[in-house]
């Protein structure tokens, strides 16, 4: 079992591949727990973190994962690069290509941007988010966290609530969770729910209280203020009243529910502080697990350095 060369999305990823990544991530978590948090697995591999969109959390998480595996890293962000001078994505990659990278970890605001660069690179490509399309390592770290807390996925009732329309996290989670046998429900006002989401094999609800009933996992999405078109909901106050996850509301869910959030959280918008910081929250576990999962993905894609060692 191997992962192939790229990780562009969770769509099309099989249960065996997902399990391989999660199992590998557990071994990676052990590395992070050591006093000396570093192994030479990706020594002399060059990983380019190619971020065309702002990101602190995901980029830091990838960078830490790369460093723990001893890869060389180059951080390339659009705000300080030639992209501002009008260079196209393909030209940027053609230039970087001559620096012999082994992997690009790329975030881009356009869905499918990774497909565009594939013909122009010999390196592995990891999708760190493409528009509202996919964010596979987020879904994998979510899965890692769910497995950690729940032991598995079969028959789990998962609710994802919030800004579905602008979320890449939701699509990656739907594909992965369905492949692993969980049942997924989406909830948001219709203005934040693209038509036909049900064609992805999920249940679509608009009443948050109804949607919460009996759920084992509740995943709240960030209300992405910076990406909102005006008029998708009347006010933050009203949003919190209708779709904010409060302690009171959470009582409708299963008694051993876990509450997740890809971060960064907006306290008092999509989630109450008491819930975010409360006993059911696994939000910070997700952050921790992100590093392990990304280490696993990089390790599996880049061959883990074992081949070189055996020469």
């Amino acid at each position: 079992m191997s992962l192939g060369k790229h990780l562009l999305g969770t769509e099309g990823l099989g249960a065996e591949e997902i399990t391989l990544i999660l199992d590998t991530a557990e071994r990676m978590a052990e590395i992070s727990a050591r006093p000396l948090k570093k192994v030479p697995a990706l020594r002399a591999k060059l990983v380019v973190n190619l971020f065309f969109e702002n990101s602190t959390r995901t980029r830091s998480s990838f960078e830490i994962a790369e460093k723990r595996l001893s890869a060389d890293t180059l951080n390339f962000s659009a705000s300080t690069s030639s992209v501002q001078k009008g260079e196209t994505l393909v030209d940027t990659v053609l230039n970087l290509e001559r620096m012999m990278p082994d992997c690009y970890v790329m975030r881009h605001s356009s869905p499918g941007a990774h497909q565009l660069i594939l013909p122009f690179t010999k390196a592995s490509v990891v999708n760190a988010g493409d528009g509202a399309h996919e964010h596979p390592t987020q879904a994998l770290l979510d899965a890692f966290t769910i497995r950690q807390k729940k032991g598995g996925f079969k028959g789990l009732e998962v609710l994802i609530c919030g800004d579905i329309a602008h979320s890449r996290v939701v699509r990656s989670n739907i594909h992965l969770l369905k492949t692993m046998g969980a049942k997924v429900t989406l909830c948001s006002p219709a203005t934040l729910m693209p038509p036909h989401m049900d064609s992805l094999g999920v249940k679509v609800l608009h009443d948050f209280d109804e949607a919460l009933a009996g759920k084992d996992v509740v995943m709240m999405l960030r209300m992405q203020l910076e990406r909102q078109q005006k008029g998708l909901f009347p006010s933050l106050r009203e949003y919190y009243q209708t779709y904010g996850l409060t302690e009171e509301r959470l009582k409708r869910a299963s008694s051993d529910v876990i509450v997740m959030h890809p971060g960064p959280i907006n306290r008092g918008v999509e989630i109450a502080s008491e819930v975010a910081d409360g006993p059911y929250s696994v939000i910070l576990d997700q952050v921790e697990n992100g590093v392990s999962v990304r280490m696993a993905v990089l390790y599996l894609l880049l061959g883990g350095g074992e081949d070189e060692a055996s020469h």
Binding site: E11, T88, L89, V90, H108, S110, P111, G112, A113, Q115, L116, D130, G131, A132, H133, E134, R168, R171, P194, P195, H196, M197, S199, L200, Q229
Partner: protein, 426 residues
């Protein structure tokens, strides 16, 4: 100068002809159509096994010149038209400068005449600079040779301006062509709103954005009694309302493109920007409705919406890529492959949609039929031969087509323009 097209299957909807006949052309004009015309002393083109039809006219083409010569020039666009079997094309005014005055129309006509035998029918803009505000000088444009008016690429957003355009163009006997899209509703979309947009996270353009504007135009056409032509209908909703309007004798005509009857939104999953167009590729249900609309005449004409874009312009992120594909060299084969051979439309209807209908809509009284005395324009094609185009076979400056490197059943064999035959080189 005499040319005899021998033993072809002449399909001429205007005269109701569909039979193996010889066509004699003399001094650029049709001289005789008969069963067996003597070939003595004339140049003979053996059309055995081929279909001979009145010259095809593509009434929706972007030639890009003046202003966007990196994408296409009038010369290269017309070379593609000729290779695609078209004897005439109508070119959209979204050039730079916009074709909103006689000098631009004259420029286009002069360049065309100098570079190709293919007839060019320039379309003037509805509004000055395509800004949607003040009407272009329709009479001046008509005098210079404009064949219709359109702000294509953009709808005429203001209902008041559209009403005035219909009234004013109508009083000159001219038609207004509208690109029907409610821009507010379509805002930010790059593909059809549906299952594929939900899956890919691309913003969608709902079918309703098209039908809302079609409905408005139909209302204004009925109100003014003046003709409106609906460009590139892509939705079942659109086809349905036009069908009803025609039954109620609203003065409306409409067109469809080969990509809208050949491809669905599913193609977009590859994120290949050669599947990005406006209107976007729709669902299977929409494709079926477009085909049905072409079959029953709800949609009068087949047009390419030939939209060349340079290699580097299309080689960008999908949502940032410009809309449109080239189509002149693939339109006729696609219509044969997707419509005629599967028995969705008759051969006669195909010829009508490519020749008679555009001539009728643009008011080209001497085109779209084969009759002694008329200028001899013919399109000769084969239902049996196949087309396989590599990028280097494309005469357009731009190669942005999703139909390259694949077999399409049907092939254009030659075009005759003004009595001169131009075989398609293999």
């Amino acid at each position: 100068m005499k040319l005899l097209i021998k033993n072809g299957r002449l399909v001429d909807p205007a005269s109701g002809t569909d039979a193996t006949l010889d066509v004699l052309i003399e001094d650029g004009k049709f001289a005789a159509v008969d069963k067996s015309i003597s070939s003595r002393g004339v140049e003979v083109f053996d059309a055995t096994g081929m279909v001979v039809a009145p010259g095809f006219i593509d009434m929706h083409v972007h030639l890009r010149e003046p202003g966007f010569e990196r994408k296409e020039t009038i010369a290269t666009g017309l070379a593609a038209a000729l290779a695609g079997g078209f004897t005439g094309v109508a070119c959209m005014p979204n050039t730079n400068p916009v074709n909103d005055c006689a000098s631009v129309t004259n420029y286009i006509l002069n360049r065309a005449k100098a570079s190709s035998p293919v007839a060019v029918y320039p379309i003037g803009s509805v509004t000055q600079g395509q800004k949607g505000e003040d009407l272009s000088p329709f009479a001046e444009l008509q005098e210079a040779g404009a064949a219709a008016f359109s702000d294509d690429g953009l709808p005429v957003k203001s209902s008041k301006v559209m009403r005035r355009a219909l009234e004013y163009a109508g009083s000159l006997g001219m038609v207004v062509i509208d690109h029907c899209e409610d821009l507010d509703l379509a805002h930010g979309g790059s593909i059809n709103e549906g299952k594929v947009s939900a899956r890919l996270g691309l913003r969608g353009i709902p079918a309703e954005a098209e039908v809302l504007m079609i409905r408005r135009d139909l209302t204004l056409a009925r109100m003014t009694g003046q003709r409106v032509h609906i460009a590139h209908v892509s939705t079942k909703l659109g086809v349905d309302v036009i069908r009803v309007a025609k039954k109620r004798r609203v003065p409306v005509t409409a067109e469809a493109t080969p990509h809208h009857f050949s491809l669905t939104e599913d193609s977009v999953a590859s994120f290949d920007s050669n599947y990005k167009m406006n209107p976007p590729l729709r669902t299977k249900e929409d494709v079926d409705a477009v085909i049905e609309g072409l079959a029953d005449g709800t949609l009068d004409a087949i047009v390419t919406d030939h939209a060349p874009h340079a290699y580097e312009e299309k080689l960008v992120e999908f949502d940032r890529a410009p809309n449109g594909i080239i189509g002149l060299q693939t339109a006729v084969p696609l219509a044969i492959d997707k419509l005629v051979l599967p028995d969705k439309i008759s051969l006669k209807r195909l010829v009508d949609a490519f020749s008679c209908a555009p001539a009728r809509i643009l008011g080209l009284n001497e085109k779209g039929r084969v009759a002694p005395g008329l200028g001899a324009d013919l399109t000769i094609f084969s239902l049996r031969k196949e087309t396989f185009l590599r990028p280097q076979d494309i005469k357009s400056l731009s190669k942005n087509s999703p139909f390259l490197n694949q077999k399409i059943r049907g092939a254009v064999i030659a075009a005759v323009i003004g009595g001169i035959i131009y075989p398609v080189k293999e």
